[in-house]
């Protein structure tokens, strides 16, 4: 599948943009602050309905405007259209002219994986970042996962509110506990099932791009040993003290180990960056193996920051996307242009919120 047409209105620094993209490589070149990352952000938004910069919708509205519009035509076996409008008062999402009722009906329409500087948070950031990485991948690949996750979050909020009360009604608490444990198991299990595949892909990706010979291992670190219902009951006394639900998939972590040591506190900056890229490569390869076609790859600056050897490790993935008539969108400033990608490139010049084919 590829993004054949992109339309932006008042999105970031783009007042209006209408552009056609063919399958294959697209290099978005231009000096700083012209709108290269903003364009990737719009494509990512089509895939996940959120920004990879971790901001809300309001920041993406062009300064001084009411709302943004992002529209797309997607071509695969069929042709699909997406229209998205977002303002403080109004949110519309339409797929093929029909309003989207439930987000789960929309998920999977566009699949994209982004490589960006924020990825470093996967290694340096709190456990929440890594849980979100797993959840996003599962939501993209398993139909029931997102609704379960949302319901779990609801049960968790209710239960925590109850625990905050001076003397919570124990039977009412039990009602929410049962629900939380039931849903919790439905979140932990798919995460555990995903892990061996993902870990193997991340390990081999690390081996391909790393300058060192260290071994990357992924380990799911559950806060629940066996039975969440039983362990919640055991944690009741501590919960009374903290007035908070202390165990469950919302407290789990994905451990990233380099030669058996946690990468966060022990790895060098370069190693951390490599681990983050390996995770994203694993995500892209997992999606490819599951759907038989690669996702759209959005690569922001990362290539330029890597040395030649690590870049070479990334190339097969890009090559594959190219072969399968998917797309790769890559940004660069003129100085960090990755020369080994010289062939079959569609070049674009990005200038103050406009896009023009490079000569």
């Amino acid at each position: 599948m590829h993004l054949a047409h992109l339309r932006l209105r008042d999105f970031r620094n783009y007042p209006r943009l209408d552009v056609d993209f063919i399958p294959g490589f697209h290099l978005l070149a231009g000096p700083n602050a012209q709108g290269k990352t903003n364009l990737l952000e719009a494509i990512y938004l089509l895939a996940t309905l959120r920004s990879f910069r971790g901001v809300g919708g309001a920041q993406m509205i062009r300064h001084g405007q009411k709302g943004y519009f992002v529209g797309a035509t997607l071509v695969g076996q069929t042709e699909q259209t997406v229209k998205m409008y977002w303002s403080i008062r109004e949110r519309n999402l339409a797929l093929n002219g029909q309003p989207v009722r439930k987000l789960t009906d929309y998920w999977g329409t566009v699949r994209a994986v982004v490589f960006c500087t924020e990825d470093l948070l996967l290694v340096k950031g709190p456990a929440r970042t890594r849980r979100r990485f797993l959840d996003l991948l599962l939501a993209q690949t398993q139909p029931g996962y997102l609704p379960t996750l949302q319901r779990y979050a609801q049960a968790l909020r209710s239960r925590n509110a109850l625990l905050k009360q001076p003397a919570p009604d124990e039977t009412a608490l039990e009602g929410f506990t049962r629900e939380l444990a039931r849903l919790g198991a439905q979140i932990i299990q798919p995460r555990l099932d995903l892990l061996p595949r993902l870990a193997a892909l991340a390990q081999s990706a690390y081996r391909r791009i790393a300058a060192d010979t260290e071994n990357l291992r992924l380990e799911y670190q559950p806060s629940v040993k066996q039975d969440m219902a039983v362990e919640l009951a055991q944690a009741r006394a501590r919960e009374r003290q903290y007035r908070l639900t202390l165990i469950g998939p919302h407290r789990d972590d994905l451990q990233l180990l380099l030669n058996d040591r946690p990468a966060g506190p022990f790895a060098s900056e370069g190693q951390k960056r490599t681990v983050a890229i390996a995770l994203k490569m694993a995500q892209a390869e997992y999606l490819t193996s599951l759907h038989g076609s690669p996702p759209i790859l959005l690569i922001d600056d990362v290539m330029g920051e890597l040395d030649r050897q690590r870049r070479a490790g990334l190339l097969p993935l890009l090559e594959e996307a190219h072969q399968a008539r998917s797309q790769v969108f890559m940004t660069c400033t003129e100085q960090n242009w990755p020369r080994e990608l010289g062939r079959a490139l569609q070049g674009w010049q990005v200038h103050e919120g406009t896009l023009s084919p490079a000569a």
């Binding site: 239960r159 509110a161 009360q165 009604d169 009412a172 009602g175 929410f176 049962r178 629900e179």
Partner: protein, 200 residues
Amino acid sequence: MSALPEPLNTLIAELGALPGIGPRSAERLALHLVQSDPQAVQRLAQSMVQARAQVQACQSCGGFTAQQPCAICQDARRDPSRVCVVERPVDILSLEKSGSYFGKYHVLGGRISPLNGVGPEDLEIQELESRLDREPIQEIILALGSDVESDATCFYLAKRLASRAVTVTRIAQGLPAGSGLDFADELTLTRAIEGRRSIR
């Protein structure tokens, strides 16, 4: 801001405070009213005042009624051994429209919602228990939604009524996940009632 006479502005504000009526509709309705036959407006105002004065919650089941107890509670043809527990009075209307239920009702007046500060003591549960003492009830059918709070409320009720000589069932979960009864169509509701299951 506007050159409208004060009483008209007041009317627009009052109408606009009603659910489902935005500023544009409020203005349209108000302009219509001030240009209508005074008698028709009188009748409208009268019917609003009367309806509000006369429609009360049934002291037994909590449904809408103009008499005590309500027509459903009084109806000797309805099965007194079954009581269907709903969240709000309007849910009774949905179930009545489905035409598949011939027992009595009981309105809880909400569901357990810690995030909104609603606990079991805020619901009409004691009243339900005292009905169990007075009336020949054999089955309590819980017809709540399928969201997290409704689930927890059903669990709570089943547990609290466990010591009573009464079967507690819950309507089948054919309802769209996370929604209340008013989103379900009549056929779905009929199936949900037929497919109810004991939750003990």
